[in-house]
C-alpha cells in the first residue's frame, strides 16, 4: 500500500475494482486435485507392482495404451495443479516487478516439463524408447 499518496480510504480499499474472475482458477485447482487422487494412487501402486520386473517387462507395461493415456493424464493434472498452486504462492509472497518474472519462469517450467514427459510416454508407446 502506498501510504504516502493522498488517497481517500475508500479509494485505497477499492483499488482497480473487481476483476470479476478467480472462480475458474479456484475451481480448476479443486478439479485437478480430485483427479490427482486416483491417478497418483494408480501410479504409485504400479511402480510398487513392477519393483521386481526387469527392463523389458517394465517397458512393455509402460508402452501399453492404457498406461500411456493414464500417464499423460497424470502429467497434465499434476503440472496444471502445480501451475495453479505456484501462481497463488507467487502472488502471495512476491510483490513488484519480480512477480511478473517469477510467474513467467514458473509457467515456462509447468508447460515445458509435462511436454517432455508426454513425449517420453509417447515414444515408449511407439517403441522408440532408447535402449538402456
Amino acid at each position: 500500500m502506498d501510504r504516502y499518496r493522498f488517497l481517500s480510504p475508500l479509494s485505497r480499499a477499492s483499488g482497480l475494482g473487481s476483476a470479476k474472475a478467480g472462480f475458474t482458477h479456484w475451481w480448476a485447482e479443486r478439479i485437478t486435485a480430485i483427479a490427482l487422487v486416483p491417478l497418483t494412487v494408480w501410479f504409485a501402486a504400479s511402480l510398487i507392482a513392477h519393483s521386481g520386473s526387469d527392463y523389458q517387462a517394465f517397458i512393455a507395461w509402460a508402452g501399453a495404451p492404457v498406461t500411456t493415456v493414464l500417464m499423460i493424464l497424470l502429467l497434465l493434472g499434476l503440472f496444471w495443479h502445480m501451475a495453479l498452486g505456484l501462481q497463488v504462492v507467487i502472488e502471495d509472497y512476491v510483490h513488484g516487478e519480480a512477480k511478473l518474472w517469477a510467474l513467467l519462469a514458473m509457467r515456462f517450467l509447468c508447460v515445458g516439463l509435462p511436454i517432455v514427459g508426454i513425449l517420453a510416454a509417447l515414444s515408449i508407446a511407439f517403441g522408440k524408447s532408447a535402449p538402456l
Partner: protein
C-alpha cells in the same frame, strides 16, 4: 463446551491440536524495520502494600516522542483490580500511568473497541480473564495495523474494506407498509454472522491479509458480505457477487482459519468465506 482435537477449526473455543511452539521460533524483532523494533521500556512496580501481584508487559508507542516502541512492565495489585485484562489496563491508567492509551467502551464484549493481542492471540481485553494469561501477560496492539498510540491501531483501511461490501439492506422493491417478513429458517441463516462486532481480531490475524491486505478484503469484511448475501430480504446478491469475485478480494483466502481460531465471539469467518465461494460456483453452473 470446549471441543478439542479437531482438524478443522469451527470456533475459537476449540483448543489447538498441537502446541509445539507457542510462537514461531524466530527472534523477536527479526526483520522488523529499525523504527518499529520494540525496545525494553520502564518498570512500574506495584504499590508497597500489594500482596497479590501480576506483571503485565505492555507495548507502548508515543508518536510525539521520536522514539521506538517499547515494552513497559506494570505490576498490578490484583486485590485492588477487577478480574479482566481490561480491568488491569484501567487500573494501570488510573493508578499508575495516565498516559497508557487504549480503546474501550462497553466492557462486556459487544462494542469491539478493546481488541488487542494478548499473549500472542487476538482477543477482547474485556472478555479475557487475567488468570488465563501468562506471567507476565504480554499485551500488544492488533498485529498488521499502523499504530496511532500504545494499544490503539489505525482501523481506517479495514473499515474502508467493510464499506466496500455495502453492509446494508439493498432492495429495489418498494418498501412494504409494515416490516419485511422473513421465515424463521431464513432468519436462522443469519445466525453466526449477524453477531459480528467488527473488532477486527480476525482480519488482524489473517496471514493473507498481512501479505495482501491492500487488495484482499479480509475475514471481517467477507463475513459481513456473507451476512448480506444470505439475508432473504436483500435483492442485490448478483451485484454483491460481481464485486466480490476477484482473485484478490475473495480468493486470496486460503482457508488457513486463523480468523476462526481467534474470533472472540466464537464466529466462523472461514466458513462464511467458503459459503461465498460456493455461491459463486453455483452461479457459474
Amino acid at each position: 463446551m470446549v471441543k478439542t482435537d479437531a482438524l478443522i477449526i469451527e470456533s475459537s473455543d476449540q483448543v489447538p491440536r498441537r502446541t509445539l511452539f507457542k510462537r514461531f521460533p524466530i527472534p523477536r524483532n527479526f526483520g522488523v524495520s529499525p523504527g518499529s523494533s520494540v525496545e525494553r521500556g520502564r518498570n512500574w512496580p506495584a504499590p508497597a502494600n500489594a500482596t497479590r501481584i501480576k506483571a503485565f508487559d505492555i507495548y507502548r508507542y508515543d508518536p510525539d516522542q521520536k522514539k521506538n516502541p517499547r515494552l513497559d512492565t506494570f505490576e498490578v495489585d490484583l486485590d485492588d483490580c477487577g478480574p479482566m485484562v481490561l480491568d488491569a489496563l484501567i487500573w494501570i491508567k488510573s493508578r499508575v500511568d495516565p498516559t497508557l492509551t487504549f480503546r474501550r467502551s462497553c466492557r462486556e464484549g459487544v462494542c469491539g473497541s478493546c481488541a488487542m493481542n494478548i499473549d500472542g492471540g487476538n482477543w477482547l481485553a474485556c472478555t479475557r480473564f487475567i488468570e488465563e494469561t501468562q506471567t507476565p501477560a504480554r499485551i500488544y496492539p492488533l498485529a498488521n495495523m499502523r499504530i496511532i498510540k500504545d494499544l490503539v491501531p489505525d482501523l481506517t483501511h479495514v473499515f474502508a474494506q467493510y464499506e466496500m461490501v455495502e453492509p446494508w439492506l439493498q432492495s429495489k422493491t418498494a418498501a412494504p407498509e409494515r416490516e419485511r417478513l422473513q421465515a424463521p429458517e431464513d432468519r436462522a441463516a443469519l445466525d453466526g454472522y449477524y453477531e459480528c462486532i467488527l473488532c477486527f481480531c480476525c482480519t488482524s490475524g489473517c496471514p493473507s491479509h498481512w501479505w495482501n491486505g491492500d487488495r484482499f478484503l479480509g475475514p471481517a469484511a467477507l463475513l459481513q458480505a456473507w451476512r448480506w448475501l444470505t439475508d432473504s430480504r436483500d435483492e442485490a446478491a448478483g451485484d454483491r457477487l460481481d464485486k466480490l469475485e476477484d482473485p484478490f478480494r475473495l480468493y486470496r483466502c486460503h482457508t488457513i482459519l486463523n480468523c476462526t481460531r481467534t474470533c472472540p465471539k466464537g464466529l466462523n469467518p472461514g466458513k462464511a468465506i467458503a459459503e461465498i465461494k460456493k455461491l459463486v460456483a453455483k452461479r457459474h453452473g
